[in-house]
Amino acid sequence: MVNKRDNISYSVQDMIKKNKKNKGLHNLVEKLVPIFLFLCAGVSVITTIGILFTLLRESISFFREISFADFYLGTHWSPWTDHFGVAPLIAGTLLITCIAICVALPLGLAAAIYLSEYASENARKVIKPILEILAGIPTVVYGFFALTFVSPMLQYIFTDMRIFNALSAGIVVGIMIIPMIASLSEDAMNAVPNTLRDGALGLGATRFEVATKVVLPAAFSGIVASVVLATSRAIGETMIVTIAAGATPNLTFNPTESIQTLTAFIVQGAKGDTSYLSTIYKSIYAVGITLFIFTLLMNILSQYIARRFKEDY
């Protein structure tokens, strides 16, 4: 078919045929693109395997010197006096993580519900960027915030509490992960179709009932994913706890005490004055792999929870 318009005549089919001649290069590109993309994806897989390999190799050589049982069942951690019971460090990490989640889960979810169910378009436009700024603050700044602001404030309440303590570090780790929970949960809640909200409103539900009994359950798997991601961040958080939680391995669940986490020990151990062949040096890897197991468990748990309570819409 030949088109005529304003003195130009053309046929789309003819042009397509003509352009097909250049297809050779096109086809090559089409073939190369997936290979290139595969390689890019491969890099991250290979890196993960590499990290795991190093962790395992050094850990195995550590466990030749210190038995598995001594490491995981021992309750005294003092590597410079040859005590390698990791329980106090695990307790420290759990304590920080629990405090952080206690702070971040309610606040983050509340923020998400507000943003997705109540906020006007304008309010959302202001608040979302602020949350993102909060997420971008370097953790070292949070650490000093914990040490120089939160801790002294808390000392008004717990007068005999030391300046280095689990509570202030945990609270600030919590504040750090609020944006993550809020923003990812809000995405999940925003994805719930409005027809479901209408269905509930049409039955006489209040906005709060819509939020809690329709939107939250429908967005549940997304919310769990955000909480798990945030928990993993809390477990792995290093700078804040190194600065504000102290450096005293302590098998305690009393938040006002000074503690040390798995990550904080790795920092301390890796600071340079530990010799390359020493048991302490190797213990860093054993602690590292313990940390890795924790995050792995979190992921498995989240998959299970998400599948168990999934509401597909």
Binding site: L203, G204, E209, E311
Partner: protein
């Protein structure tokens, strides 16, 4: 004082932001009858329907003037709780929108949020509502399955059951069969005629045959105005307005 009218609409105007969608609408909707609303796309049928249970307020830019009375009560008055209005004036939507929960949970959702907790009563409500929506026999053995596993027509009847479960007085239906095949449509039409005994039904439809088949009264709207509102038979056989005649004879719209 009881009148035979559920809704009394007077001089009603509605704006989305600065564009007006309804102009001086006035009508009285009779109790225990089926009222159909027809008219070309964009003429304001859904807008009018959603106003009756104030669902329209989910659009922030909406402004209104004029009055709408439900059982002689101004629905926009400060005294009228919007949630309470919606328990009396239920709604079935164009696209089936069951909650992503079990069939049972879908039906008891309304009663539950209004504080009914007794298992025995809830069980009874489920059976009664599903029977009322003519779907009990199809789903009675799988009440705990997700409602999303049902066909579109079944989902729509679950939504009707969900609406019946709060024992409303009026049911608003916005093109409830437009997403369904002819057989499901027929089932739902039968159901609507059945429901008329206990409920007042207002149904928006694009399908003039459907309006003629099931309704007692029909309203014809055009460009935000109510052109004609009369007995269905009269409106289709002997319309008093030229525009109605043009529309039902397919000359435009």
């Amino acid at each position: 004082m009881t009148t035979n009218n559920v809704f009394k609409i007077e001089d009603f105007n509605l704006w989305y932001g600065s564009t007006q969608a309804l102009y001086q609408v006035g009508m009285e909707i009779p109790r225990n009858e089926i009222t159909a609303v027809i008219g070309p796309s964009g003429c304001g049928k859904s807008t009018l329907l959603k106003t009756l249970n104030r669902m329209i307020e989910t659009v922030p830019s909406v402004r209104t003037s004029g009055t709408i009375e439900y059982n002689n009560q101004d629905i926009f008055s400060k005294k009228q709780l919007v949630e309470e209005l919606r328990t009396h004036v239920g709604m079935v939507f164009q696209k089936p929108n069951p909650f992503p929960k079990s069939i049972y949970e879908n039906v008891v959702y309304g009663p539950k949020i209004h504080g009914i907790k007794k298992k025995k009563i809830l069980d009874d409500i489920v059976e009664k509502s599903l029977r009322g929506a003519a779907i009990w026999d199809e789903v009675k053995d799988r009440l705990s399955q997700n409602a999303y596993g049902l066909s579109g027509g079944q989902q729509q009847r679950i939504c009707i059951a969900r609406c019946l479960a709060v024992e409303p007085d009026v049911i608003l239906m916005d093109e409830p069969t437009s997403a369904l095949d002819p057989i499901s449509t027929l089932k739902i039409e039968e159901l609507i005629k059945e429901l008329k005994k206990d409920y007042t039904i207002i149904i928006v439809t694009h399908n003039m045959q459907q309006a003629a088949r099931i309704s007692d009264k029909t309203a014809f709207m055009l460009n935000g105005e109510l052109v004609e509102f009369s007995d269905t038979n009269t409106l289709f056989s002997n319309p008093s307005d030229k525009r109605t005649e043009d529309y039902i004879s397919g000359r435009f719209g």
